[in-house]
Amino acid sequence: MTTFRSAVTTAHAWGSPSRWRALAGFALAAAMLFGLAPAVLSEFRLNLLAKFLCYAIVAVGIGLAWGRGGMLTLGQGVFFGLGAYLMAMHLKLADAELRDGPGSVPVFLQIAGFTEVPGWWAPLASPVVTLLAILVLPALVAVLLGLVIFKRRVKGAYFAILSQALAAAFAILLVGQQSVGGSNGLSSFHSFFGFALNDPVNMRMLFFIAAGTLLAVVLFAWQLTRSRYGELLVAVRDQEERVRFLGYDPANIKVAAYAVAAAFAGIAGALFVPVVGIVSPADVGVLPSIAFLIGVAIGGRETLLGPVIGAIAVAWAQTTLSEQFPSMWTYAQGLLFIAVVGFLPGGLASIVAVLKRRSGTVTKPGVRHATAPEEATA
């Protein structure tokens, strides 16, 4: 954005070794997602992986807002849900239009007693409006909420609690709305922008879309964290007052990261719907919102790839383990959370640094605290 760079950013300039290493890693990830995974995984597993990739997209945003920005957002389910419901409503309208012609009412709405599509739904019949809404609406909600919270300097813990309360209120609100399926949510979609969803080829295509989106999101976040803005974000996390004294408004810096995280979550939610085939209030409330965090914390909140790998690993472990030992998984998840956050705050990504420090080969502390010291007294 600006023509001058700080000393730290120049180290990350084009052509530096770290950039080449990152690009190589990026190419490797792309090869695995686009080459290896479709070759070795069954249709069922590939679809499962597509779902995990959606979680990973949310995780990248959380890594940005929480790991880099120090904003513990316990309400990403809200933005995920906004994206998901917008997409689900569009798919429902499109299905009805395909079957009974334009402007017809989806069957579940008829059962709920609606004779026509509610006015606030109707614009979602257009694919363009839907896609725009998915990109804009979650970010807009985040900007509004972020402005009212951060401008008044409401601090870390307060923000966490408010974001969680928002998730609770959102889920309760959805349960009460029969026009979006109430507690059952929306399900049984037949087509996705004109492509039949029961066709394995199209499901495979959805996987590639999810993989491509994840790579794009990671790339975007990578650019962001290496920019001047990325440094300001970390600065706000570590010493908000000093950044203020330097003439910046920390609130704007925080709001931007929060909005980007919300947009990522919205996109992930929109992809989740055709991949999984259902969205309900159970996917957007307090528990799923915190489940998003678990993967990020375990993978390493301050890194770029840690959240991605953590989210996929946790979701994968949950799916495979909870089939066999449902109650064991909850214990494992809780204990893992306690162990990682309590004793390894940098996540698994920091384990090498921690071990090195323990053995005395590195004297520089490898793990930073994600919260600024002043917050201890807040």
Binding site: G70, L72, L74, L145, V148, I149, R152, R153, V154, K155, G156, A157, Y158, A160, I161, L162, Q164, A165, L166, A168, A169, F170, I172, L173, V175, G176, Q177, E241, V286, I290, L293, A297, S327, T330, Y331, Q333, G334, L335, L336, F337, I338, V341, G342, F343, P345, H369, A370, T371, P373, E374, E375, A376, T377, A378
Partner: protein, 294 residues
């Protein structure tokens, strides 16, 4: 007019439940900056204590008073165990205490599910709490009056302890200025443990009281903890009077919203009011005057 009084009474009742759930939280959050998400599970532990006590003692009339005492002890001991093993390592990372205690809550919930089963269990109210009393032309269930009285007693007891005992003075000293209190020879370690015991014990009491108005399941605590946190946020950190006013204000607000809209919209309404309120007073209703920059 009857409607207003009826809604006001419902609001008072909801408020007293909120207050019971938030009282201990406010103490712990206010003194130590610890966000204890397992507070909800401590409430649940109190509810199950009431259930077990009734199974053992049989008669509801005897088991309720006994459960209030044992519930306090069970909640308090859980709190002490949590503080001694995990929280004390995390005093400089308040946001991480939130996540760690959430993990603890998950484990406790699953534990309850494995021990007591996933279906909800019921505790019978004692004979002297069956039926209702007429207040200003509206019939209020006796159980709700009991909870209101209990909440009031808890506030009075806590105020008395904080104001008139040596222990209370130590707690207030540590809240006011931890370093200075240390310098004056107060062990902030032991004070923290005491605070956690009292705060978590109050969660246990809240859990026992909640069995009077609903059934108990492993997820009982979850539904209260977020509302309780909102009370603490709106009331101001560690401010007893703030918590009391906020609890009754939010309770009444919710009951009026519920009357004019639906229960689900009421939740959203209450949330919006809190966010707007924080625009006016970001530090909550009352705030401790300190010299800290943060």
């Amino acid at each position: 007019m009857d409607v207003v009084i009826g809604q006001l009474l419902t609001g008072m009742s909801t408020g007293s439940i909120l207050l019971l759930a938030a009282l201990g939280l406010s103490l712990v959050f206010g003194q130590m900056g610890v966000i204890n998400m397992a507070h909800g599970e401590f409430i649940m532990a109190g509810s199950y204590t009431a259930f077990v006590t009734q199974q053992v003692l049989g008669t509801a009339g005897v088991s309720l008073p006994v459960a209030l005492v044992t519930g306090f002890a069970v909640g308090g001991l859980l709190g002490v165990a949590l503080e001694a093993t995990l929280i004390r390592r995390l005093y400089h990372r308040p946001l991480d205490t939130l996540l760690v205690t959430f993990g603890v809550g998950m484990v406790l919930q699953q534990l309850a599910r494995d021990v007591f089963g996933a279906p909800a269990v019921n505790v019978t109210a004692p004979q002297w709490l069956v039926g209702g009393v007429e207040l200003f032309g509206t019939v209020v269930p006796k159980t709700r009056v009991f909870i209101l009285v209990l909440a009031t007693l808890c506030v009075l007891a806590l105020t008395a302890v904080l104001r008139y005992t040596a222990m209370g003075r130590r707690i207030r000293a540590v809240v006011g200025n931890r370093d200075l209190a240390e310098t004056a020879g107060i062990s902030s370690r032991r004070t923290d443990l005491t605070t956690f015991f009292i705060g978590s014990g109050l969660a246990g009491v809240a859990g026992v009281a909640l069995t009077l108005i609903g059934s108990t399941s492993p997820t009982t605590g979850q539904s209260y903890v977020i509302d309780a946190f909102l009370v603490v946020v709106a009331g101001g950190l560690g401010q007893l009077k703030g918590a009391v006013i906020a609890a009754f204000a939010l309770g009444s607000l919710q009951s009026f919203f519920e009357y004019s809209t639906t229960a689900s919209l009421a939740k959203v309404g209450v949330f919006l009011v809190i966010v707007i309120f924080l625009q006016l007073r970001p530090q909550g209703l009352f705030s401790l005057k300190t010299r800290s920059l943060a």
